[in-house]
């Protein structure tokens, strides 16, 4: 006799399953699989290894309804507000409450009902709980094609608006053709004091010798739950760099599933996370080297204050044939209070024998010697701390190639630190 363990469903799980039972969504193989997963496993929780430190059964109190009330007024209101970051000469692609609204600039954009995209992508991350949740509800797919000509600059500008709780499920596929060169800025901004939830899935297919620089800024509102998945496939000699600045949302998880499929791909992932209050901020990476002679570098910095929690999980996988892989991962944290917490989980899974891979994780308070040195030069304690923290985050931001973006990211760090002084 088979024994089934029945866990009590949380209100969020109940709401999700009830909504799925309503139907009305297009049936695709991918969605059926995702729905089956959700029915069987519920929300990802601490019993699932990859979600051990970000237990959605506790952190996701409710599952507000998908946003449907799109009106011209809503779009007009969104357009009257400012983006989290501005970028000159960018093809501006605007999403309001998860839905593609318009784009300006030379770029091919197709927005359509979801087909079976994931099956085509090989579905490398279909088992993930957040991806399943996204696929169960995602309605449309926006596809961007980056031309091979000159360097393209794209701003994916996500804005959330509203006063009542809602959920969004945007899905983007970005196809970067052979030899193309693109800078993609992805910004998220939304209202404070609204318990909205964003479930985003952005997939990059990067063809051989193409070059991508991706910068993500998450300034979701203070009650928001932000789940974000970045899926990346890299062909031979492709270069992919991604930086993420996370300071928004009450609960945030940004996960990157990256695969190098051809030789000599070059990967650089970096990020700075600033968390305070009771924020929970998670970055989870899986860098899967499936082809030989690829290089990957991960560099993450966290500043965690008050009663906030940071999570960094980084897994480097090297397949048996991926010889000559060169991988290095670093995660460093400064805790600013006794009640702040950081969970670091670096992992290496190496099945090839001729590789160079390493990881390092540190966690501590501000360096007393550095502080005293600054004090002895006449710099008051508050200013000295800000100087050191700005420098600490700045070393991650230095990994961003575009100067215009780098400066704005530094301004955001300074703003965050200035708020710390005020409170």
């Amino acid at each position: 006799m088979a024994v089934q363990l029945q866990t009590v469903r949380t209100p969020a799980e109940e709401a999700i399953l009830a909504r799925l039972a309503e139907g009305g969504r297009r049936h695709t193989q991918t969605r059926e699989k995702a729905v089956a997963r959700l029915r069987a496993n519920g929300l990802p929780n601490r019993r699932v290894e990859a979600w051990h430190y970000t237990d959605l059964r506790t952190l996701m109190r409710d599952a507000p309804p998908p946003f449907e009330a799109f009106t011209d007024d809503l779009v007009a209101e969104a357009m009257s507000q400012s983006a989290a970051l501005s970028l000159k000469d960018a093809a501006h692609v605007l999403f309001v409450n998860g839905r593609f609204v318009r784009h300006a600039g030379a770029l091919e954009v197709v927005d359509a009902d979801t087909g079976d995209q994931a099956a085509a992508a090989g579905d490398a991350y279909g088992d993930d709980g957040a991806v399943a949740l996204h696929r169960a509800f995602a309605g449309r797919t926006t596809t961007l094609r980056v031309p091979p000509s000159h360097r393209s600059i794209v701003h994916l500008d996500f804005r959330e608006l509203g006063t009542d709780a809602f959920s969004t499920f945007p899905h983007l596929v970005i196809e970067v053709v052979e030899g193309a060169d693109v800078l993609v800025l992805e910004t998220h901004r939304g209202p404070n004091d609204v318990s909205y939830q964003t479930h985003a899935l952005i997939e990059f297919h990067v063809a051989s010798s193409a070059k991508v620089e991706h910068v993500r800024v998450n300034e979701a509102g203070n009650k928001a739950l932000s789940l974000s998945t970045l899926g990346v496939d890299l062909a031979a000699r492709a270069a992919f760099q991604s930086f993420s600045l996370s300071s928004g949302a009450n609960v945030a998880r940004h996960q990157i599933f990256l695969r190098s499929l051809g030789e000599h791909a070059k990967i650089g992932l970096a990020g700075a996370t600033l968390a305070r209050g009771r924020q929970h901020a998670d970055t989870t990476l899986v860098v899967d080297h499936t082809a030989p002679r690829c290089e990957s570098r991960e560099f993450y910095r966290y500043i965690v204050d008050d009663m906030a929690t940071g999570v960094f999980q980084g897994k480097i996988v090297v397949a048996p044939n991926a010889q000559k892989t060169d991988g290095g991962m670093k995660s460093q944290t400064i805790l600013l209070s006794d009640t702040a917490a950081m969970n670091n989980k670096p992992e290496l899974e190496i099945f090839a024998d001729d590789v160079v891979c390493g990881h390092g994780a540190t966690c501590g308070s501000l360096n007393e010697n550095q502080l005293f040195y600054a004090h002895a030069r006449g710099i008051p304690p508050v200013e000295a701390e800000a100087l050191l923290l700005e420098a600490f985050a700045g070393e991650a931001i230095d990994r961003v190639g575009d100067e215009q973006i780098r400066e704005q990211l530094m301004d955001k760090v300074r703003d965050w630190l200035a708020q710390r002084v005020k409170s």
């Binding site: 005293f372 040195y373 600054a374 004090h375 002895a376 030069r377 006449g378 100087l387 050191l388 420098a391």
Partner: protein, 249 residues
């Protein structure tokens, strides 16, 4: 003027300074020499205000004001400067940004107007040229990857810019080759002024050939055991500390 009276200090319950008394007048350069473990560096840290040392008795006056109750940055703003034996590396903070932040913080504390970037750069360039500190060094993170000589030159550059009323040089000669020693010493000598005193802490007579002291103090077991003129340093160099320390015990 720096006046230290009967200073007692300890760290982790261990007594390091045992009733140290010392006066350095305006315009005077005083040298402190002493064997390893005599408390020389502790003295510099305690005067600068490092919090891991506990002062159990005594007073330190800078130009008549007892500074022991002041936090380190306020001591600096009142004109105290410590050139570190081991200057601290601060990754991510550009050297010139650090210097400007320090100078403007002190100016602000004294109620003076902060310097604009252009004014500061002019001041910094002039000082840097004298000390053979290159513009490239000033653009690098503070002390990161600097050689021993570069770090010490940068300490003196900071002292030049901050123009303190009193400078303490903690083994500034350690890690310096002969050429660097000369550059650093010239930098210090340039700053000698009738209204500015110096306390030069060193192991060796060598530095005092370049920075000529007015007085020489020998320190052992946390206090001054003998005071004399420059000839005292020469005597030490010849005979070592042993006789002095034995006499004092």
């Amino acid at each position: 003027m720096l006046e230290i009276r009967n200073l007692h200090a300890e760290i982790d319950g261990k007594k390091i300074l045992n009733g140290l008394t010392l006066t350095v007048k305006d315009g005077e350069v005083a040298a402190i020499m002493g064997p390893n473990g005599s408390g020389k560096s502790t003295l510099s840290y305690v005067v600068a205000g490092r919090s891991d040392y506990t002062v159990t008795a005594g007073e330190v006056f800078l130009n008549g004001e007892n500074i022991l109750e002041l936090p380190p940055h306020e001591r600096a703003a009142r004109g105290l400067f410590l050139a570190f034996q081991y200057p601290v590396e601060i990754p991510g903070v550009t050297t010139h940004v650090f210097l400007r932040t320090a100078l403007n913080a002190q100016r602000k504390a004294r109620g003076e107007a902060e310097l604009k970037t252009a004014e500061f750069m002019k001041l910094m360039r002039a000082a840097a040229d004298k000390l053979s500190v290159t513009q490239e060094m000033l653009r690098r993170p503070l002390n990161v990857g600097f050689s021993g000589g570069e770090k010490k030159r940068l300490e003196i550059l900071q002292m030049t810019l901050l123009a303190p009323k009193f400078g303490i040089l903690d083994e500034t000669d350690s890690g310096l080759d002969i050429d660097a020693l000369r550059v650093v010493s010239d930098g210090v000598n340039d700053l000698r002024a009738p209204d500015r005193g110096f306390l030069v802490i060193t192991h060796y007579q060598r530095l005092l050939d370049h920075i000529k002291p007015d007085t020489v103090h020998i320190m052992a077991q946390g206090r001054i055991i003998k005071t004399g003129g420059p000839e005292l340093a020469l005597e030490l160099e010849k005979n070592g500390y042993r006789d002095f320390v034995a006499d004092a015990a």
